[in-house]
């Protein structure tokens, strides 16, 4: 029975690599978007804050699947040409950018009041204060929830399978439909995701213990 799984393992692992690559790219992009949105929300002017809030509201209230399909169907009908890889990466990054922004915003807010006062007492203002005192501490505080969001992101990439990007879930479906062994193969796919995400969570735990708390 497990023979089906082992016979197709190389093929599935190729899908897993695509998942990992996609997740890495999206995590980077989402973090960038998240930082910008968090800063806009906390320190931006009215317009910046407005845009950030609208963006956050949209991402938090719309299912990722809807957005994935929208990118796939809408853009071509409007005339913009986007392939599943680019479209999928953009949508996933945009979606999880909202979650990342929440992570960073909460981290910024959790830096103790005293740190701001101490920094100002030492004569630091604005960007120096942020860069030397506040942001490093915020980043440390952000560590564990950041890893959690990354795990959510990896799981989120499975949705891009529905528009044809050959990551792990779609690869799994193709194998299932060829071998007609859904129990073994989908089970195996779940296990591969488990390995990936559990490893990430272990990194998160390691970060928690290594990094000194503020």
């Amino acid at each position: 029975m497990p023979n089906v799984l082992f016979a197709n393992l190389p093929f599935l692992l190729r899908g897993a690599i695509v998942t990992l690559e996609l997740s890495a790219v999206c995590a980077l992009l989402a973090s960038a978007i998240g930082i910008v949105a968090a800063l806009a929300q906390s320190y931006g002017n009215l317009v910046a804050r407005g845009i950030a809030l609208i963006y956050l509201y949209l991402m938090r209230g719309t299912p990722l699947l809807v957005m994935v399909f929208a990118a796939y169907y809408l853009l071509p009908y409007v005339g913009i040409d986007v392939d599943p890889t680019t479209g999928g990466a953009l949508v996933v990054s945009l979606y999880f950018g909202a979650f990342m922004s929440e992570v960073f915003r909460a981290a910024l807010a959790s830096v103790p009041r005293g740190q701001w006062d101490a920094g100002r007492a030492l004569g630091m203002h604005g960007r120096r204060l942020m860069g030397i005192v506040i942001v490093p501490q915020a980043l440390r505080l952000a560590g564990p929830p950041f890893i959690n969001t990354c795990i959510m992101l990896v799981k989120g990439t499975s949705l891009v399978s529905v528009i044809g990007l050959a990551e792990l879930t779609l690869t799994g479906r193709e194998v299932v439909e060829r071998t007609l062994a859904p129990f073994q193969v989908f089970g195996g796919v779940a296990l591969i995701y488990l390995v990936i995400c559990y490893s990430l969570s272990l990194c998160g735990k390691a970060l928690e213990t290594r990094l000194p708390h503020a």
């Binding site: 938090r60 719309t62 990722l64 809807v66 009908y77 995400c197």
Partner: protein, 212 residues
């Protein structure tokens, strides 16, 4: 076209609502069962629950749904798309709920219980009067997020041919090519749904906060 698409999407709304409501209620219950196991005195039970949690948190819901729908059917147990989707959602969100409960209970924690005992209450009384209300207030915000996540996850069952809003929207787009209008409608409906859930929970928070 936007107006003409609405009735079709509203047909799907009933399914989306039904699935969301069932998933929320069953996750709440399953979460209680899990947290009792997670915090039990029996080590094997604790470990089993912790293992279960790792399993559901680290696997995508979509894969779980495919597994329950196609995998079980192949093995002889035929679940409808609705049931398979519901099962996957409850198993996963029940896990997240149990963690929320656990965080609430542990945060309010030992000190409060000691305080209650010092005041002469029995352990169960202490739990009821001191710990539980505080835990409930702590727990409501993350629960709101979880409920919203559940409503959004219901869209996934469209891949198992369940006639929810997402499914109907896709079929309609195939037929009419009015992709923009239909997606606008669909997004609007999900935004309204999630906003409604968030508002309801905010009202619940307010009432519970006002009581204390």
């Amino acid at each position: 076209m936007m107006a003409r698409a609405m009735p079709v999407l509203l047909d799907g709304l009933a399914v989306t609502l039904e699935l969301s409501a069932l998933a929320i209620v069953l996750s709440l219950i399953w979460g209680v069962v899990l947290v009792l196991g997670r915090l039990s005195h029996l080590r094997p039970l604790r470990l089993a629950c912790a293992g279960y949690l790792q399993l559901v948190r680290n696997t995508p819901v979509l894969v779980q749904m495919y597994f329950f729908y196609f995998g079980f059917a192949m093995a002889g147990l035929r679940l409808s798309g609705f049931t398979a989707g519901l099962l996957a959602m409850v198993l996963q969100n029940g896990g997240y709920m149990s963690e929320i409960y656990r965080a609430g209970i542990e945060t309010v924690g030992a000190r409060q219980r000691e305080a209650g005992l010092a005041l002469g209450m029995r352990p169960f009384e202490a739990f009821q009067i001191v710990i539980f209300p505080q835990a409930v207030r702590l727990v409501l915000p993350p629960m709101t997020n979880q409920f919203v996540a559940i409503v959004k996850d219901t869209a996934l069952v469209s891949t198992l041919s369940v006639a929810d809003m997402m499914f109907r929207a896709r079929l309609l787009i195939d037929r009419t090519a009015a992709a923009f209008e239909i997606f606008a409608d669909l997004t609007l409906m999900y935004l309204v749904l999630t906003a409604a859930v968030a508002l309801l929970m905010r009202a619940a928070e307010w009432r519970l906060g006002a009581v204390d």
